[in-house]
């Protein structure tokens, strides 16, 4: 249990750093897209701020369980196992949720596409971390 918690925290911290870096890149290199977040739909200030910064740990612990349960299905180097896990996560979790998000919310296709790609990226990063520290 202790190892499980430690792995989840390690992966969560890495995702947390990457999530802020992704926002910084978005604002500084894709300002038109960043402007889309200046919308009442997005409530990223105030009391909900801590929820946003907790999401990397929600994901890391969820994928920690997933890795422990299904890691035997992924083969090859730790790089490839991590990439494959990220793609699997993107296919079964991120793609369906982004599909329904785009179909029901007033957000642009471009924005949803970035969320899909970012979700897969998160899965890949977590997969590589777990494939390395918990093969």
């Amino acid at each position: 249990m202790q190892k499980f918690l430690l792995k989840g925290i390690v992966a969560g911290v890495i995702l947390l750093v990457l999530s802020y870096a992704a926002l910084w890149i978005l604002v500084n290199f894709f300002p038109d897209m960043a402007e889309q977040y200046y919308n009442p739909v997005f409530d990223m200030e105030g009391d909900k701020t801590y929820l946003y910064f907790l999401h990397p740990f929600i994901l890391s612990f969820a994928l920690a369980w997933f890795w422990r349960r299904f890691k035997s299905l992924f083969h090859g180097t730790f790089w490839w196992r991590g990439i494959e896990m990220g793609l699997v996560y993107g296919l079964i979790a991120t793609l369906p949720s982004m599909w329904i998000t785009f179909s029901s919310l007033a957000v642009s296709f471009t924005l949803v596409l970035t969320w899909l790609l970012y979700g897969v990226f998160q899965g890949v990063i977590v997969g590589i971390v777990y494939a390395k520290i918990s093969p």
């Binding site: 802020y20 604002v27 960043a34 200046y38 009442p40």
Partner: protein, 212 residues
């Protein structure tokens, strides 16, 4: 189209033209009544590190009266205190509207207050209906979020008809000067620049009132 009482401040500048043209310098204080007519517009412009924004003032306008004492080079005003409702700025973006109201502390200070003190002008320009656009400068007390600063606003005025004139100009204001923290978004990655500029382009109707 709704107009803002803030416009009245600028209307004063045009009133000078009416007053100076009709009365000799040093005449006793005179009451005037005025309103804003179409086409008129007041808006503020600002920038962030990723975009620009424009917020139109949609406050309700009511007829106003004040007293003006016209001098050779300056006119002085009494009871020329105006209030502009903070919540009436429309940035066409609900989040930006909310952030602006929060920055201006709309709950504690529902009005931006403007007290006109005096206005400076060139008599020869005001007395010449063929002058076209002429320069005017107003000294005001501007109060935002309870902080008051003296400002000198420069504008241009032009007589359109006997009782109508046009006013246009702009005034830049630093939010931090009034103790306002420029709003931020996305965990501080998007920042509104400190300097915002008020723009006005007004058509003013002046109706003289007898002074007793």
């Amino acid at each position: 189209m709704k107009k803002s009482p803030f416009f009245l401040l600028l209307m004063i500048l045009g009133i000078l033209g009416m007053s100076a043209a009709s009365f000799a310098p040093g005449s006793p204080p005179e009451k005037k009544r005025y309103s804003i007519v179409k086409p008129s517009r007041l808006f503020l412009k600002g920038t962030t590190n990723i975009n620009k924004f424009t917020c139109n003032c949609e406050d309700q306008f009511v007829f106003q009266e004040l007293e003006v004492e016209v001098g050779d080079a300056a006119s002085r005003f009494q009871n020329a205190r105006l209030g502009m409702t903070t919540r009436k700025f429309n940035c066409k973006n609900g989040k930006m509207d909310r952030d602006l109201q929060k920055a201006l502390k709309a709950e504690e200070h529902p009005k931006i207050l403007i007290e006109l003190l005096e206005a400076r002008h060139k008599p020869e320009q005001m007395n010449n209906p063929e002058a076209g656009w002429f320069d005017v400068e107003a000294k005001v007390n501007l109060t935002i979020t309870g902080v008051t600063k003296v400002k000198r606003i420069k504008a241009q005025a032009r007589r359109i008809s006997e009782n109508q004139f046009a006013l246009k100009g702009s005034e830049a204001v630093q939010m931090t000067e009034f103790g306002i923290d420029p709003p931020t978004a996305m965990f501080g990655l998007i920042k509104v620049d400190d300097l915002i500029t008020f723009h006005f382009d007004l058509t003013v109707q002046v109706d003289p009132i007898g002074f007793n």
